[in-house]
């Protein structure tokens, strides 16, 4: 499992547990829209931000917490990988 896939799996488990209890993991694909479909509201996004910061050792800024970086597992994983690479 590569780094991006590992990030996505951890995020998938976290989102399923916290925001989609009882949902089948198969329904949460790498491209499922999270912010723009209402799965994650602003509070939930903050929880994901905290999770990402604690688990992957990065720091997220206010303007980075928008749809561009937090709308799908793919976009979050890409954002985390980019932040880690820039550290």
């Amino acid at each position: 499992m590569d780094q991006a896939q590992g990030i996505k799996e951890q995020l998938r488990q976290f989102i399923l547990k916290e925001f989609l209890p009882g949902e089948s993991p198969a329904n949460l694909t790498d491209d499922t829209p999270l912010r723009t479909s209402g799965v994650l509201d602003s509070m939930a996004t903050l929880q994901v931000v905290t999770f990402v910061e604690e688990h992957f050792g990065i720091e997220v800024e206010a303007h980075e917490a928008g749809v561009e970086n937090f709308d799908s597992l793919n976009s979050i994983a890409a954002f985390v990988a980019q932040k880690k690479a820039n550290k």
Partner: protein, 458 residues
């Protein structure tokens, strides 16, 4: 929100598999299909018939065909846009939108609007530092704001510049909020947006008719452009246009029933409750228009999120805030909540959340007056307005505090849980009806008189 209701089947991004790494997947998502196109066009034709037969949005009389004409233009443009190669699609939509300004607005208003738009674009696209560009754009915008004032000197100035009075509400309707979003996103943009992206964001066809417009997010608009297959996106848009039409038809009924109730007088508790409900339901016009606006944009590949989500089923005030006018909530989260919270969270996470929530409601209160200034030409700061936003903000803060202390862990589908949810909906909506009636009242005194219907008044 559950995945099954949040995301319709097939809405998933990137479903296209391509062996060529560099091919834009949106080209595949825009691939035409004559049968599916015919089905979409047939539905749009039926919608036009409904608009005409039921006089949808014809409030100025039977000759008021602006809405119908706008839909004819948009649906006709869809029929052409659909068959164009992907690289021409957005340019075509921009041309249609801008040409429509000449159709629905006075010529001088259109020219002044385009001049303002190009001036803002030149500022945004210049090589100056971001701070300088933002400062110049703010200065230009404030100058426009002051020059729209009613004082004699400015009236003479506007007359001298040949700027018609009808220009200002349209200018405000287009730029008052989206310019803030645009510059906020520009600050962190990896590349400067192109002219087409700028024009597609600001000069949106329905905006010339609907000045009270959803605050569309620039990044969301770009991220969701051809995010999924055009047939699914367009079908979603048609569904929202249908829903918006139902809202507008219900609005007409609500409007007339409310009028009749007002004429008969409010002389009983059920009449008070009915009046409160009908007053709140006037919001159907806003939600109806917003559904139609975003539905129309879906036809052109902008797979934007929902603007209002079943707000009558809100089970808490926080939930209500999340469901009604979602674009406004997202706008506030972006420009107020996140900046305040991220700045303060390391010192005190709970305090940062509370302060950020409070700031959202203060800014919302101020910006509502700012919006009234642009759309109606005067700043309005009433006690009802202040009380409404203070009460709603305080209750939402209590709700945030409660949700932080009692996080929802498991989906409970028992009958007891369903009953609890039903009771929560009834309590929440009752509370909303009361404070909404205060907000809509001509004065606090009039609202108290309305609530104390048993007292004789002269």
């Amino acid at each position: 929100m559950e995945l099954s209701t949040a995301i319709a089947p097939g809405t998933v991004q990137g479903t296209v598999r391509t062996s060529v790494g560099h091919v834009d997947p949106r080209i595949e998502r825009a691939r035409p299909n004559i049968y599916r196109f015919s089905a979409l066009v047939a539905q749009l034709g039926l919608l036009l018939a409904v608009f005409r037969v039921y006089h949808v949005e014809q409030f100025r009389g039977p000759d008021d065909l602006d809405f119908f004409a706008m839909c004819c233009v948009a649906f006709g443009a869809f029929a052409v846009h659909y068959w164009l190669p992907f690289r021409f699609k957005e340019k075509f939509w921009v041309i249609v939108s801008m040409a429509s300004a000449a159709l629905f607005l006075q010529r001088r208003v259109t020219i002044a609007l385009f001049a303002a738009g190009f001036l803002f674009y030149l500022i945004a696209a210049s090589r100056w530092s971001f701070r300088k560009r933002a400062a110049i754009a703010t200065t230009v915008f404030l100058a426009a704001m002051f020059s729209s004032a009613k004082s004699e000197w400015f009236v003479h100035l506007r007359h001298g510049l040949s700027i018609p009075e009808s220009f200002w509400p349209v200018f405000g309707g287009i730029f008052m909020f989206r310019l803030i979003v645009y510059f906020y996103d520009l600050q962190s943009a990896k590349a400067k947006p192109s002219l087409v992206e700028f024009l597609a964001y600001f000069f949106i066809l329905p905006n010339y008719l609907f000045l009270f417009f959803p605050v569309i997010d620039f990044k969301t608009m770009r991220v969701t452009y051809y995010r999924r297959d055009i047939h699914e996106s367009a079908q979603q848009g048609i569904f929202w246009i249908c829903r918006g039409t139902v809202h507008l038809l219900l609005y007409m009924i609500v409007f007339h029933v409310r009028d009749m109730l007002t004429l008969n007088g409010i002389r009983s508790f059920p009449a008070v409750v009915a009046m409160m409900f009908l007053t709140f339901m006037l919001y159907l016009r806003v939600s109806g228009q917003f559904h139609i606006i975003v539905g129309l944009l879906h036809l052109f590949g902008y797979d934007l999120p929902e603007t209002n989500h079943k707000y009558l089923l809100s089970h808490s005030l926080n939930d209500f805030w999340r469901r009604i006018n979602i674009y406004w909530k997202d706008f506030m989260v972006k420009i107020v909540y996140f900046p305040v919270y991220f700045r303060l969270r390391k010192k005190n996470d709970f305090g940062a959340r509370m302060l950020a929530t409070a700031m959202v409601f203060v800014v919302t209160w101020v910006l509502h007056s700012y919006q009234t200034f642009w759309l109606q030409g005067r700043f309005i700061m009433t006690w009802q307005d202040t009380l409404f936003w203070s009460i709603l903000g305080s209750l939402v803060m209590v709700n945030v505090w409660w949700e932080l202390r009692h996080p929802k862990r498991r989906k409970d589908t028992s009958w007891a849980a369903r009953l609890r949810t039903t009771a929560s909906i009834v309590v929440t909506m009752s509370l909303i009806l009361v404070i909404w009636s205060l907000w809509s009242a001509p004065s606090v005194r009039a609202w108290i008189d309305f609530l104390t219907w048993w007292h004789p008044r002269f």
